[in-house]
């Protein structure tokens, strides 16, 4: 019984032309049993900044709450919105503080840099090692499947509409090869003037 696959989850973040997208499945299950099909795993940390948290469900909820607390204090002290790269460092610090008793989440960050609106994506492991990439990041129980889908479907400078199709197909087909993820999916497409959220019609099995 692996702790990281006790609940099951799948998250992808991808960059496009002046936009980013982040998508997750919606299953909340306990090993083989599915309990809920509307479990939130992507959380808003700023108007154009989102964090996806796959892993143990209790830690998904605890980390998102503790992180929101830290980000709120940061914004009150600095009197401005937090930048994506700074959020990555805050998450890294939060996770490494628990180095020898970690939170069982491997977060994924997606957002636009305030001011320049440059796309930003990053992922971290459960003890806070950060990794920033240009193309896509994946995390969850079907990460190998998601890597395969993203590597073959992604190309640079996708428009928001094309990026939506690409990230949706990458996620849907990856979770269909994993028993503990799926049961619905949600996608957020983040552009400089708006964020569009869509729920995908997925295989409910």
């Amino acid at each position: 019984m692996s702790i990281m696959s006790y609940n099951g989850s799948a998250i992808i973040a991808m960059t496009g032309k002046n936009c980013v997208a982040v998508a997750s499945d919606l299953r909340f299950g306990i090993q083989a049993q599915t309990v809920a099909m509307d479990f939130q795993k992507i959380f808003e940390m700023g108007p154009r900044l989102y964090i996806g948290l796959p892993g143990l469900a209790t830690d998904v909820q605890t980390v998102s709450q503790r992180l929101k607390f830290r980000v709120n204090l940061y914004e009150l002290r600095e009197n401005r919105r937090i930048k994506p790269k700074t959020l990555m460092s805050v998450v890294s610090n939060l996770l490494y503080e628990r180095r020898f008793g970690p939170y069982f989440v491997e977060p994924v960050i997606a957002g636009l840099e305030p001011g320049t609106d440059k796309p930003f994506i990053a992922s971290l492991d459960l003890i806070g090692c950060p990794m920033e990439t240009e193309d896509f990041v994946v995390s969850g129980t079907c990460s190998e499947q998601m890597y395969g889908m993203c590597e073959s479907l992604w190309e640079p400078d996708l428009s928001p509409e094309d990026l939506f199709e690409t990230i949706s197909q990458a996620l849907l087909n990856a979770v269909d090869r994993d028993a503990v993820s799926g049961w619905g999916a949600v996608v957020h497409i983040i552009e400089k003037d708006k964020v569009t959220t869509k729920t995908l019609r997925a295989r409910m099995d």
Binding site: N7, F28, I30, Q33, V35, A36, D38, F39, L56, A57, T58, V60, Q61, T62, Q65, G101
Partner: protein
């Protein structure tokens, strides 16, 4: 081997818990009440490590009553559920974690009826119907088939009976009696217990 069931209806939540209290292979008590009143319109059903269940439930219940005394108004169902989750999550990584699964059923004028499922690791979800224990493997599919949004009390009780019948038919541990209550805008109401059927 304990079973907790919750079903959300149009403006109420129907909850049921089995009444067996057992240690190892012995049934010690057959009329145990596993529900705790958190407030006038909030009910918590608990199962798990014996002792932890009652200790944690009473701790939460009294803190929720204290909030009302201090502030003059009570916690809403989602606030109470999240308060409970925060406590359980904080204890999880301490030296004294509580091993308690629970269902929190409540009614609020603003939120309407709500049913929350929380496992012993403190994962919290709001769902229309929920079951804890081995009974869930037999009953969740029955509920998937027959549950409808906005059911009346009669329809919900009928669905509950279907679930208990399935448990008594296919689960090899005997759980004959279930305590049944309804949480609605009028508070917590006791419904007749589901009793074992006499041998024919």
């Amino acid at each position: 081997m304990e079973c907790l069931i919750g079903i959300q209806g149009e403006d109420f939540v129907l909850v049921a818990s089995d009444m067996v209290s057992a240690r190892s292979i012995v049934t010690m008590k057959r009329d145990q009440d596993k529900m705790f009143k958190l407030s006038d319109k909030l009910l918590m059903l608990v199962s798990g490590e014996s002792g932890d269940t009652v200790q944690f439930a009473e701790y939460i219940s009294k803190n929720i009553q204290l909030y009302k005394m201090r502030n003059g108004y009570g916690l809403s169902p989602s606030a109470a559920a999240n308060f409970t989750r925060r406590n359980l999550a904080d204890y999880l990584r301490s030296n004294t974690p509580y091993s308690v699964n629970m269902l929190i059923a409540g009614h609020d004028d603003t939120e309407g009826p709500s049913l929350f499922y929380m496992d012993y690791l403190a994962s919290l979800v709001k769902i229309p119907f929920a079951v804890h224990g081995y009974g869930s493997f037999f009953t969740l599919s029955v509920m998937d088939r027959y549950y409808k949004e906005g059911m009346t009390k009669e329809e919900a009780v009928k669905l509950l009976h279907q679930c208990v019948d399935e448990i008594n038919k296919r689960f090899f541990v005997n759980l004959p009696a279930f305590k049944v209550r309804v949480v609605s805008k009028d508070g917590v109401e006791d419904l007749p217990d589901i009793k074992p059927t006499p041998a024919s």
